[in-house]
């Protein structure tokens, strides 16, 4: 099977303090480290595992600025054959605009594929909509929240998708198709610095997003950034570590869970 996997470089904001600047027009990410989107890491791994068994090749594609080459090198180090960058300086908040750009690229460059993998969502914008929009635009069947690929045949896949509360749904989907891959579907392989360095010797192709702009319009407008409204919040314990821990044990006693 030939698989196309979209992968994105995102800011790792989990433990960072974020500041809104320019009267709500921007979020300062200048001091935030960047990394591969967690969901895309699982997608690449899953795609590589499929081709290791079934043959074919994985092509990693990233939409982003020149720095996004980093996630392509990483994909190649994990086992992708090619890395394509659709270079743009635009942030593309609108999933419709992003998916249309991807659709135009695939059509114009005639990249062959049996299936396209995207991550379920991107950590930065948390939209989770690009895979579904792209599938519909390409006229292909779509399955999201894929947590297992149970079987692959020449004309279809059997996949499991994750629902709520531990429940899963097994689905048959005809090829070609688009799948959105959920985290936890596999255990992504470790990528060493040496591996990435070696991968950087494989040529990555750069395409200009400007060449694929037909119908790429923002259907939604990002008006402003704001901080989430504060709730009452926690009573923060203070003092020395030992003192805080004793206070914590006191709370546990008071609540009746520890004697």
């Amino acid at each position: 099977m030939n698989l196309i996997v979209f992968t994105k470089r995102v800011p790792a904001t989990q433990e960072e303090e974020l500041r809104i600047t320019d009267e709500g027009k921007a979020v300062d990410l200048s001091k935030v480290p960047f990394k591969v989107n967690d969901w895309d890491n699982y997608s690449i791994e899953e795609a590589v595992r499929v081709v290791e068994k079934s043959g074919g090749a994985v092509t990693a594609v990233s939409v982003g600025d020149a720095e996004s080459d980093e996630v392509l090198r990483r994909s190649i180090a994990m086992g992708a054959k090619d890395g394509f960058l659709i270079e743009t300086g635009d942030v593309l908040h609108d999933p419709n605009a992003r998916a249309t750009l991807m659709q135009n690229f695939l059509k114009k460059e005639n990249v062959p594929f049996d299936a396209i993998f995207t991550g379920v969502q991107s950590e930065d914008d948390q939209f989770g909509a690009v895979g579904g929009i792209l599938a519909a635009k390409l006229g292909l069947p779509f399955v999201s929240m894929v947590i297992g690929i149970d079987a692959y045949e020449s004309d279809h896949l059997i996949v499991r998708r994750e629902l709520e509360g531990g429940l899963q749904e097994r689905v048959k989907v005809m090829l070609p198709c688009v799948l959105s891959i959920q985290t936890g579907i596999n255990e992504p392989r470790y990528v060493s610095i040496m591996g990435v360095r070696k991968a950087s010797k494989v040529e990555r192709k750069v395409f200009k997003a400007a060449d694929y702009q037909e119908n790429v319009v923002n259907k939604i407008e990002a008006v402003k950034w704001v901080y989430p409204p504060k709730k009452a919040g926690a009573t923060i314990l203070s003092g020395e570590l030992d003192g805080m821990c004793k206070e914590l044990l006191g709370i546990l006693k008071e609540k009746g869970v520890y004697q």
């Binding site: 809104i20 531990g166 255990e187 704001v226 044990l249």
Partner: protein, 312 residues
């Protein structure tokens, strides 16, 4: 007539409670809500909506995005285009919404958790819930929204009379994607939903080798170990220990969260705990907004200090 189409999420005969958030958003917008639902006895309070459209189809066909677009096409042909189509922000809701957005070429804003009526602005979270983006559709016409559960259900109100209901016939089932079966989670000996005291571990523990030390702490405290999604994804703890929307919903007397930042999907699974205590080195971690008590510190140091005291 102007209306909003609310696509019900039903699963195995249950009308999911988060549908009330979709209905509540319509009330907030001051729009008539027409509920789209497969035929069946879902025991819903019909007075919460202004109209019902029952689709003569099976639930699993209804929840299939490839069929849903055909159903939507039929409704729009009959009633005209809605101002908005609302879905739940769930595994199925987002799948249906995004596919419909691509199919009908419509604007979509997912995971909406607030609405400013005066400015016509929808709020959605960004960057690990640390920033909210204000969004609105760029032009006129129908747009699609998915609604974060718990955001608008208080706004849902009874209209005082049973609404008109209509039925649409089944649409031809698409064969490119078909439902096979449901797969239940394997039963295990530990049921975290029964525990009175959970020690819950998050990404902040850093690596798997730290787990035994936390297990020792749990043993000393007589707490049961649970975890957030990243810890389960990395196979540091088994799936049965997962707290959150895709795992278990828990309501222990005490929920002690260590190294959990508090992604929305996690919060949804533990916010009704009687007492939530969060330990995290990041003072901006969203979990402190939901916790009753917080300690801002390195979790390993807190763990070791607690063990020191407990061992006397």
């Amino acid at each position: 007539m102007s209306y909003v189409l609310v696509v019900a999420e039903v699963r195995r005969g249950i009308f999911e409670e988060r549908n009330l958030d979709s209905i509540g958003l319509c009330t907030l917008l001051g729009k008539d809500a027409i509920l789209l639902i497969p035929e069946g006895d879902y025991g819903i309070n019909e007075q919460l909506v202004n109209g019902l459209v029952r689709v003569k189809t099976e639930e699993t066909l209804f929840l299939n995005p490839l069929n849903m677009v055909n159903i939507l096409e039929k409704i729009m042909a009959a009633r005209g285009k809605p101002d908005m189509i609302v879905f739940t922000n769930s595994a199925s809701g987002i799948e249906l919404a995004s596919y419909a957005a691509g199919y009908f070429n419509l604007p979509v804003i997912t995971d909406v958790n607030g609405y400013d009526k005066e400015r016509g602005i929808f709020f959605k979270s960004y960057y690990s819930d640390k920033i909210f983006g204000e969004f609105r559709p760029s032009g006129e016409g129908t747009f699609i929204i998915t609604v974060r559960s718990g955001s608008f259900k208080e706004n849902a109100a009874e209209k005082g009379s049973a609404p008109p209901a209509e039925a649409i016939e089944d649409v031809a089932a698409n064969t490119a994607r078909t439902f096979v079966e449901y797969v239940e989670e394997e039963k295990t000996d530990v049921d975290i939903t029964k525990a009175e005291f959970l020690l819950s571990l998050g990404r902040g523990i850093g690596n798997k080798d730290e787990i035994p030390d936390y297990e020792e702490l749990a043993g000393l405290l007589k707490a049961v170990i649970s975890g957030s999604r990243p810890v389960i994804d990395k196979l540091w703890l088994p799936k049965a220990r997962q707290v959150g929307t895709s795992g278990k919903t828990v309501k222990p007397k005490v929920y002690l969260a260590m190294g959990i930042s508090g992604a929305f999907q996690h919060i949804a699974g533990m916010k009704d705990s009687s007492c939530i205590i969060a330990v995290n080195k990041d003072p901006e971690a969203p979990i402190f907004q939901y916790a009753h008590y917080g300690i801002i510190a390195d979790i390993h140091k807190v763990r070791d200090a607690l063990k020191g005291i407990l061992k006397g």
